[in-house]
């Protein structure tokens, strides 16, 4: 996985720039803003990391089902499923098992990257077509 590495490097570069420009306190604040509760690892992960369950908070079927689809579109993934354990808790459980080619975390990250790539393309196509104005403005 080369992509996450480059992103990491970019992140640290940004931090450096902030350090030069702003003061240290600002940077510290940015670090504490990292959301450590958004996604957690649930018990039941294998020690090799090829199978794991995650709990994501404040998400529902909107992201859950789309992400499940994207993760399943990966031939290294043996199984992916999600559930909302209880409808009145805003929690989303996601299970990923791979064949052993990649870790469950990598499969999750790839799924998220693919999902945002796809959204970018949909947005691009829609904006070019809206800008082209090649459609009726009257409701038939």
């Amino acid at each position: 996985m080369s992509k996450p590495e480059t992103e990491d490097i970019e992140m640290t570069d940004d931090n450096k720039i902030e350090n030069v420009e702003g003061n240290g306190a600002e940077n510290e604040e940015a670090e504490t803003q990292v959301d450590r509760t958004k996604i957690t690892l649930l018990p039941g992960a294998t020690s090799d990391g090829f199978a794991a369950s995650f709990q994501i908070i404040d998400e529902d079927h909107t992201l859950g089902n789309a992400l499940r689809y994207m993760i399943m579109k990966n031939s290294d993934v043996e199984f992916c499923g999600y559930s909302i354990p209880h409808p009145s808790e805003n929690k989303l459980n996601l299970r990923i098992q791979t064949y052993g080619g990649i870790t469950a975390v990598d499969a999750l990250h790839k799924g998220l990257d693919d999902l945002s790539d796809m959204c970018s393309h949909v947005e691009e196509v829609f904006s070019t077509q809206v800008a082209a104005k090649d459609y009726s403005t009257e409701e038939p």
Partner: protein, 337 residues
């Protein structure tokens, strides 16, 4: 595997997506491929009017288009009344009912011009010119001195006896005087009836409007409806001619089936079909027609409440889904306990 959902008289078949690697021996190469997606994905805008949009998303999975639909309804922010401060209400409509009605009035405000309320902030610092729109409603009903003496028509007898959404007056605060100079906040539909009055009754109140999302309260939803349906497919497997053809045509909404010069029925525009399955109730068409829907062809219909153009609502839904993915990607995976 075919991507047509079969529709029979008492069941649907082939409903779930199977485009996953490992699903079957011939699904090798079904891996996610952005370049392949770029080639197969098609978007076809049918029309975009001021309030509604109709377009087709082709070559995309249900889970994704359903996410767009759900986000448009519940997660695209818009502005609505949150607090109503009632100074005087002598009308027959109760304060809380009136407040609820005012809350549901869609307002013409660009949501990007407001910032989010800080819920934790102290009550007196919570509302600023940056995050709150103030509207006021001051109306009193009086007798019409020039009324026709034998008239029983309230429109003729009274003045201001109907309180409409248009009576809500925008009161720009601080920097809003400049910001909203050219586009003052008004209700999208001026003639929504809020209350009725009789001479001597009056209403005086102030409304604070804030940014919110539909999952918190339906009044914040920017759409009245946002829905999709799958493209209907009608497959005539054996020719239908003569009197049968006319009867066949009548089984569908007008414009779906036409009859050619040889008297044979043909599918003119399956898109107009409602898939009522009426044709499957007629014995003479048994085995002559197959109904279905294309699983990867979504016909979206979006109706805006008026605050935003419908295409902008769809744009925002796509961006929100991407932001969700990117945000989750940036979060470190914590350990429970």
């Amino acid at each position: 595997m075919s991507n047509i959902v079969g529709i029979e008289h008492d069941r649907v078949t082939n409903t779930t997506s199977t485009d996953f690697p490992g699903y079957s021996p011939d699904s090798v190469g079904m891996d996610w491929d952005l370049e392949k997606f770029k080639k197969t994905f098609k978007l076809d805008i049918k029309y975009i009017s001021e309030r509604t949009a109709n377009f087709d998303l082709i070559g995309i999975d249900t889970s994704i288009s359903n996410a767009f639909r759900r986000i448009m309804i519940a997660e695209v922010p818009s502005v609505a009344a949150e607090n109503v401060y009632i100074f005087n209400n002598t009308s027959v409509i109760q304060d809380e009912v009136l407040a609820h009605r005012i809350g549901l009035v869609p307002l013409k405000v660009d949501p990007d011009q407001l910032s989010w309320i800080n819920k934790e902030a102290d009550e007196k610092d919570k509302f600023t010119d940056d995050n709150t729109i103030v509207l006021s409603l001051d109306i009193a009903c009086t007798k019409n001195p020039n009324a026709n003496s034998n008239s029983t028509d309230p429109d003729n007898l009274y003045r201001n006896h109907k309180v409409y959404a248009k009576h809500l007056k925008f009161e720009p605060q601080g920097r809003q005087v400049e910001l909203f100079a050219n586009n003052p906040v008004i209700p999208c539909d001026p003639n929504i009836l809020l209350a009725k009055l009789r001479p001597g009754q009056e209403i005086s109140l102030r409304v604070h409007c804030i940014l919110g999302i539909g999952s918190d309260h339906a009044k914040f939803s920017p759409v009245s409806t946002a829905s999709y349906r799958l493209l209907p497919v009608i497959n005539i497997t054996k020719p239908i001619v003569g009197k049968d053809a006319l009867e066949f045509k009548d089984c569908f909404p007008s414009g779906v089936i036409d009859i050619n010069e040889k008297g044979e029925a043909f599918v003119k525009d399956a898109r107009k079909d409602t898939v009522s399955r009426e044709v499957l109730r007629h014995e003479q068409f048994d085995g002559k027609v197959k109904l279905g829907r294309r699983r990867d062809h979504f016909i979206f219909n979006i109706e805006s409440t008026g605050a935003m153009p419908p295409e902008e609502i769809f744009f925002k839904s796509v961006r929100i889904l991407r932001n969700k993915a990117e945000y989750l990607r940036s979060c470190p995976i914590g350990n429970l306990n």
